[in-house]
Amino acid sequence: MQEMKLLLVIFFFAFQFSWGQEKGIVYYGHIESPGMKSPAGPDLNSYLVFNRKESYYVSAKDSLEKENKGQKIFTREDGETKVVNNGKNTFRFGKQVYYNRAKDSMWWNQRFKGNIYVAESTPKINWKLSNETKQIGKFTAHKAVGDFRGRTYTAWYILEVPLPYGPWKLQGAPGLIIEAYDEKKEMYLYFKSIEYPTKSKAVISQVLSPKGSNPEWLTIKEFENLLRKSLEKAYNNTVIMSEKYGGDRPIEPKFSEVYIESF
C-alpha cells in the first residue's frame, strides 16, 4: 500500500512535471517596416517556444533564413533575374524576447547600433476583446485591440492555447496570439504553423548573447532615451544636410513613424 502511494506520488509529480515541461512551438512570419507605411520590409522567419511558465520568441536569426549572405537574386516578372546586394537582416542569435510569467518580467535584445539588451517588468497591454472572429487554418481566431508603445495593435488569439503569449512583445491576451499588426502594418506578424506538444529542439531560453560579450542590461527608460536621442540626431542630420546642400525642407519625423516602439 505504502509502495502504491509512493508510486502514485511519483506518477503525480511526473505528470505535473511533464505538464510543466510540455512545450509548444509556433512559427510566424515577422515583417518590420518602420516608416514605410506598409508591410514592405523584409519578411523574416520567427518562432515562439513556450510552456505554461515561460516563452521565448526569436526572429532575424541567421539559422532561420536561407539567404543570409547579404545578397538577393530576384526574378522579375519577365523572367530575367536581377541581383540586388543587400546588407544583412539577420544575425547569429537573432532578436529574442524571453517572458517569464512567475517573475512577471521580460528580457529582450535587438540591434540598434550594436546589440542592446533590455530587462523590464512585463508591459501591460489593455486588450479590448471583440466579438469578431476569423478563421486562420482550422482555428477560430478572436480579435483583440490594444495599445502598445505608440501603436494600436490588432491581435488575433486562439482559445485552443489559453496562454497569454504572442509573437514579439505582444502578450497578455486570453489566448495565444497567432497574428498581429498595427494600424499601418509596419509591424506585421503572421501565423505559419503550430505544434503542441513538440519535439522541436528549439529551447525556451534566456536571451542568448555571444560568448564573452557580457551584455549590459538597460532599463526601459534607458532604452527610451536611446531612441529619443537617435531620432533627434537623425532629424538634425537631415536639417543640416538640407541646409548645407540645398533641397526641400525636411519634415520632422514623428517618433512612431520612425520606430516600431515609441514612448
Partner: protein, 885 residues
C-alpha cells in the same frame, strides 16, 4: 472602466479588500471563483473570459496559483453573462450567470476534465507575399504625396531619403543616383532627367531605393558596389494601356508652354514618348545634359566609358551670366524623346532611345573690355546681337546578353548629330561686323563590355571602344578691320571652312581579386587617337585662299599602360588605397615625335569614425598627352577679331596634387564642419602668349615649367532645434599663379585670387509660412603687369512659402543682385491649385514682377576687365492647366 484586466495572481487578501470595497462602492459586480481539476487540485493560469452578448461586453483574467480568479463587471452590463474557462491540458468549460441588481457578489467554481492536447496546424498565407529585397527600400508614394506634384521629380522631392538638386540631379541616401529605372528597366540611362522631369507623378505607386546597386550581374556577385539606383513602380491601372498627360500654359507677351507625354508598360515592351515646347527660357538641350555623380564611389572595376570629344577652333561669343536661365534666355525650345526597352529572348534585352531638341535663341549683349597688357590701356567695345539655332538629334541602341552565371556582355552604340546656325551682328569699336556660322557636329561611338566570373572572388573585365567625331564649320565674315589686314575692300566677305575629325579606339582588361582585408587589381590598357584638323580661309573678293592662315594638322597619340592597384583595410577606422600606372605615351605630328615612359602613382589614406572626425589625405601624379589644339602650324581665325596658333615644341604635361578633406560633427549632429584643401603644382603646361591690339588679338602657346593652384573651402552648418532654424556659412578661396606672355616676349606672373562667402538660413516653423534665405558675396582680384584689378557682387535670395490648404500652395521668390554698378531685383510669384481627386491641375505664375529689363556686370579674367550688359525676359503673367489620362 468598461472592463478589468487581471492576469497575474490575485492574493486572497486582495480579494478580501475588493470584497469589502465592493460593499462600499456601488454598482460593480464581482465574480470570483476557483478552478480545480477532478482531484481537487487548483489549476493555475487558466484563462477565464466573461462576456455579455447583449451588451457586447467582454473581459478576461487568468487564475492565480490557488486557482482563484476575480472579474469585475459594471452594472450596465448586467444580464446573462457567459463565463468560459480554458486551460492547457483540460477541456473547455462554460457556465452562465445572471447578474442582477439585487446582489453584487457571485461565486462560481469550475472543475475541469483533463484532455490530451495535440495541436498541429500549418497555414501558408500566400496573399501576404511581400517584397523581400534586403537592401531595397520601398516607398508607397501615396502616403507622402501632397497631390499637387506635377512630375516625378516634384514627387521625389517629398520622399524620405531622396533629394533632387536644382539642376535635376537626384540623390538617394545621400549619394547621387547612378540609374533611374522604371519597372526595373533602365530606359534613359544617363539622360534620366528626361524621365524624372516629364513623367507624370500621378502614375507612380511605389519608389524603390536600391542600395548597393549593380546591374551587371557578374559585378554584382562582389556586392561591393556603392552605386545607388531608384526604381519607379507604376500603379496597376497604368500597365498594359497607353497613359499620359497634356499640359498647356498661356501668358502675356506670347509666353507659351505645352507638353504631351505618352507611356506604355507591357511585359514585352516598355515605351515612353515625351514632347514639350516653351518660350520661357528653359533650354531643350539642358534636358540632355549629363547628371552629376558622386565622387569616390567605390566600383569594382573602372566602368567609365571613353567617349570622343573634340572642340572646334572657331567660336562666337555667347552670353555667360550669373543669372538663372529663366531670367535671361530669350528662346523657343522644342524637345521630343522616344525610349523603349524590349526583350528579344530570355537572355537578350534591347534598349533604344531617340532625342530631338531644338533651341532658337536671341541674345543681345553690350560689352566693353579693357586689356591690361601695356602701360596704356587697350579698350575694345562691342555690341553683339546673336540669333542662334541649335539642334540635336541623338540616339542610343544597347544590347545586353546574360549567358547565365559566368558571363555578361553589353554593347552600346551612340549617335549624335548637332547642326547649329548662328547669325551675329556686332558693332566692334564703332564698326559694323556681320558673321554667320554654320556648324555640323557628328559623333558615332561604340562601347563593348564583357564581364567574366572566374570563381572564388576573381573577375575578368574587358572593355573595347571605338569613337569618331567630326565637326565642320563654315563661317562667313564681313569685318572691315580684318579686310584691312588682308588688304581687301571694306565690305568684302571672308569665308573660313574648318573640319576637325577625331578617330579613337582602344580597350582595357582588368583582373580583380577580393580577399578579406585586401583587394587587388591589375589593369592593362591601350588607347589610340588620330586627329585631323583642316582649315581654309578664303577671300570672296579675290576668290583665292589666304595660304598663311590655313592649317592642316595630322596628330596621332597613343598610350599603353599597366596599372596594378590595391586597397587595404588597415583597421575598422582606417583604409589605404594605392595604385601606380606605368605608362608609355607616344605623340606624333608633322615631323615631331615624342615617346615617353612615365610613372603615375596615386595614394589615398582614409581615417574615419574617429572622435576627431574623418580625415582623407591623397597624393597623385599625372602625366598627360597635350591636346591637338596646341599644335596648329599657322595662325587660324578663331573669332571675328582674333587668331590662334600652336606651340613650337612638343612636351608631355605633368602635374602633382595633394588633397585634404576633414569632416566633423557633434554627437547630436546639430553642428558640422567640413574643410577641403587642394594644392596642385604643374611641372609642365602650355600657357598662352597674346599679342593684343585695339582691333585684334593674336594668341599662341608656349610651354612653361611651373604654375601653382591652391584652393580651400570651409563649411559650417548649424541647427538650432529650439529656434526651429538652421543656418550655413560657406567660405571658398582659390589662389592661382600662372605665367603668360601678353604683348611681351617675357613671361609675366598672373595671380588670381577669388573668394566666395555665403550665409543662409531656413525656418522650420509649425505655422504654414516658412522662409529660407541666402546672401552671397563674391570677390575676384588679380595682379598682372603690376596692375591690380578687382570686382565683386552680392546676391540675396529670399523664398517664402505659404501652404494655404492641402490643395493650394503659394510662394514668393526674390533675388537681389548688387553689382558694383547697380542693383537688380527679381520677384516671382507662384500659385498652384490641385483639387484633390481631380485629373486637372492649375498654376498661376507672375515672373519678374518688377520688370527688370537689363542686367550688367563686370568680369575679370586676369589681364582684361569686361563690362557687359544683357537684355532680360520682361515681366509676364502666365496661367497653365494640366490634364492627366
Amino acid at each position: 472602466m468598461k472592463f478589468t484586466l487581471n492576469h497575474s495572481r490575485v492574493r486572497p487578501l486582495l480579494i478580501l479588500v475588493f470584497l469589502l470595497a465592493g460593499k462600499v462602492l456601488i454598482a460593480q459586480n464581482k465574480i470570483t471563483g476557483k478552478i480545480k481539476d477532478f482531484r481537487g487540485k487548483a489549476i493555475e493560469n487558466a484563462s477565464i473570459i466573461a462576456s455579455n452578448a447583449a451588451t457586447n461586453f467582454s473581459t478576461y483574467t487568468y487564475s492565480d496559483s490557488t486557482g482563484r480568479f476575480l472579474l469585475e463587471i459594471e452594472e450596465e452590463d448586467n444580464g446573462w453573462v457567459v463565463l468560459e474557462v480554458n486551460s492547457m491540458g483540460y477541456e473547455r468549460k462554460r457556465d452562465s450567470i445572471k447578474l442582477g441588481s439585487e446582489r453584487t457578489e457571485y461565486f462560481i467554481p469550475f472543475e475541469l476534465n483533463e484532455k490530451v492536447e495535440n495541436l498541429r496546424e500549418i497555414v501558408l498565407q500566400t496573399h501576404e507575399k511581400f517584397t523581400t529585397r534586403g537592401d531595397t527600400t520601398s516607398i508607397r508614394v501615396h502616403s507622402f504625396s501632397r497631390g499637387s506634384e506635377k512630375s516625378v521629380e516634384d514627387l521625389l522631392k517629398l520622399l524620405p531619403g531622396i533629394e533632387v538638386l536644382k539642376d535635376g540631379s537626384i540623390k538617394a541616401h545621400g549619394r547621387f543616383i547612378n540609374k533611374l529605372l522604371i519597372e526595373g528597366e533602365n530606359l534613359f540611362d544617363e539622360n534620366y532627367k528626361v524621365l524624372s522631369k516629364n513623367l507624370d507623378a500621378k502614375v507612380l505607386e511605389e519608389v524603390e531605393i536600391l542600395d548597393h546597386f549593380e546591374d551587371n550581374p557578374i559585378l554584382a556577385k562582389f556586392k561591393d558596389s556603392e552605386k545607388i539606383a531608384l526604381n519607379l513602380k507604376l500603379k496597376k491601372e497604368y500597365k498594359n494601356i497607353w497613359f499620359g498627360n497634356l499640359g498647356l500654359g498661356l501668358g502675356t507677351d506670347k509666353k507659351t508652354e505645352a507638353e504631351i507625354n505618352l507611356g506604355l508598360i507591357r511585359k514585352k515592351i516598355k515605351l515612353f514618348n515625351f514632347s514639350n515646347y516653351n518660350n520661357l527660357g528653359g533650354r531643350a538641350l539642358d534636358q540632355l545634359e549629363t547628371n552629376r555623380s558622386s565622387v569616390n564611389v567605390k566600383t569594382i572595376v573602372n566602368e567609365n566609358r571613353t567617349e570622343p570629344d573634340i572642340a572646334p577652333i572657331y567660336s562666337i561669343d555667347k552670353i555667360n551670366s550669373i543669372l538663372n536661365e529663366k531670367q535671361n534666355v530669350l528662346n523657343d525650345a522644342f524637345f521630343s524623346s522616344l525610349a523603349a526597352v524590349t526583350k528579344l529572348n530570355k537572355k537578350t534585352t534591347m534598349r533604344g532611345t531617340m532625342f530631338l531638341a531644338r533651341d532658337n535663341e536671341d541674345q543681345l549683349l553690350k560689352a566693353h573690355t579693357t586689356f591690361l597688357a601695356d602701360e596704356e590701356e587697350i579698350i575694345q567695345q562691342k555690341t553683339n546681337s546673336n540669333t542662334i539655332k541649335n539642334s540635336t538629334a541623338a540616339g542610343e541602341l544597347q544590347l545586353m546578353y546574360n549567358s547565365g552565371k559566368k558571363s555578361y556582355v553589353e554593347n552600346l552604340i551612340k549617335l549624335r548629330f548637332e547642326p547649329n546656325n548662328t547669325e551675329n551682328e556686332i558693332i566692334f569699336n564703332g564698326q559694323g561686323i556681320n558673321q554667320v556660322l554654320n556648324q555640323n557636329d557628328f559623333v558615332v561611338q561604340n562601347h563593348f563590355e564583357h564581364s567574366y566570373y572566374i570563381g572564388s572572388r576573381k573577375l575578368l573585365y574587358s572593355y573595347l571602344f571605338f569613337g569618331r567625331e567630326r565637326v565642320d564649320q563654315d563661317i562667313d565674315l564681313q569685318s572691315p578691320e580684318i579686310n584691312k589686314l588682308f588688304g581687301l575692300g571694306k565690305n568684302s566677305f571672308l569665308n573660313q571652312t574648318n573640319s576637325d575629325i577625331l578617330t579613337t579606339f582602344g580597350g582595357r582588361t582588368s583582373f580583380y581579386q577580393k580577399g578579406g582585408k585586401l583587394e587587388t587589381q591589375v589593369e592593362i590598357g591601350y588607347e589610340y587617337s588620330k586627329i585631323n584638323r583642316k582649315s581654309e580661309l578664303r577671300s570672296e573678293q579675290r576668290n583665292d585662299s589666304l595660304k598663311n592662315f590655313n592649317n592642316e594638322l595630322n596628330f596621332f597619340q597613343s598610350t599603353l599602360y599597366f596599372k596594378p592597384g590595391l586597397k587595404l583595410l588597415l583597421s575598422e577606422k582606417a583604409n589605404l588605397s594605392a595604385e601606380v600606372s606605368l605608362e608609355n605615351s607616344t605623340v606624333k605630328y608633322e615631323n615631331s615625335t615624342l615617346s615617353k615612359w612615365s610613372f603615375n602613382p596615386e595614394v589615398e589614406l582614409n581615417l574615419e569614425k574617429m572622435k576627431l572626425g574623418q580625415i582623407r589625405l591623397g597624393y597623385r601624379v599625372e602625366n598627360k598627352i597635350p591636346s591637338s589644339q596646341y599644335f596648329l602650324g599657322q595662325f587660324q581665325l578663331n573669332t571675328y577679331y582674333s587668331f590662334i596658333k600652336g606651340a613650337e615644341s612638343l612636351h608631355i604635361l605633368n602635374n602633382e596634387s595633394i588633397n585634404f578633406y576633414y569632416h566633423w560633427n557633434n554627437e547630436m549632429k546639430t553642428r558640422t564642419i567640413s574643410l577641403r584643401g587642394k594644392y596642385k603644382t604643374g611641372n609642365g603646361k602650355y600657357s598662352t602668349k597674346k599679342e593684343i591690339t585695339r582691333n585684334f588679338v593674336f594668341s599662341s602657346y608656349s610651354f612653361v615649367n611651373a604654375d601653382d593652384f591652391i584652393s580651400g573651402s570651409l563649411n559650417f552648418t548649424t541647427y538650432f532645434p529650439k529656434l526651429d532654424f538652421s543656418s550655413h556659412l560657406n567660405v571658398n578661396k582659390t589662389w592661382s599663379n600662372t605665367f603668360m606672355k601678353v604683348n611681351s616676349e617675357n613671361f609675366k606672373t598672373l595671380e588670381i585670387f577669388s573668394t566666395a562667402y555665403a550665409l543662409g538660413g531656413t525656418t522650420y516653423f509649425n505655422f504654414p509660412i516658412n522662409f529660407n534665405f541666402e546672401v552671397q558675396l563674391i570677390e575676384n582680384r588679380s595682379l598682372f603687369n603690376r596692375r591690380k584689378s578687382k570686382n565683386s557682387w552680392m546676391t540675396e535670395n529670399l523664398e517664402l512659402n505659404y501652404k494655404v490648404s492641402n490643395s493650394v500652395n503659394a510662394s514668393l521668390q526674390t533675388t537681389l543682385y548688387q553689382t558694383q554698378e547697380n542693383n537688380y531685383n527679381f520677384i516671382n510669384l507662384n500659385l498652384s491649385y490641385h483639387p484633390l481627386d481631380s485629373d486637372f491641375s492649375y498654376r498661376l505664375t507672375w515672373e519678374n514682377v518688377l520688370n527688370e529689363d537689363h542686367f550688367s556686370a563686370t568680369e575679370i579674367d586676369g589681364y582684361s576687365i569686361t563690362y557687359s550688359e544683357i537684355k532680360l525676359i520682361p515681366a509676364y503673367l502666365m496661367g497653365s492647366v494640366r490634364y492627366r489620362f
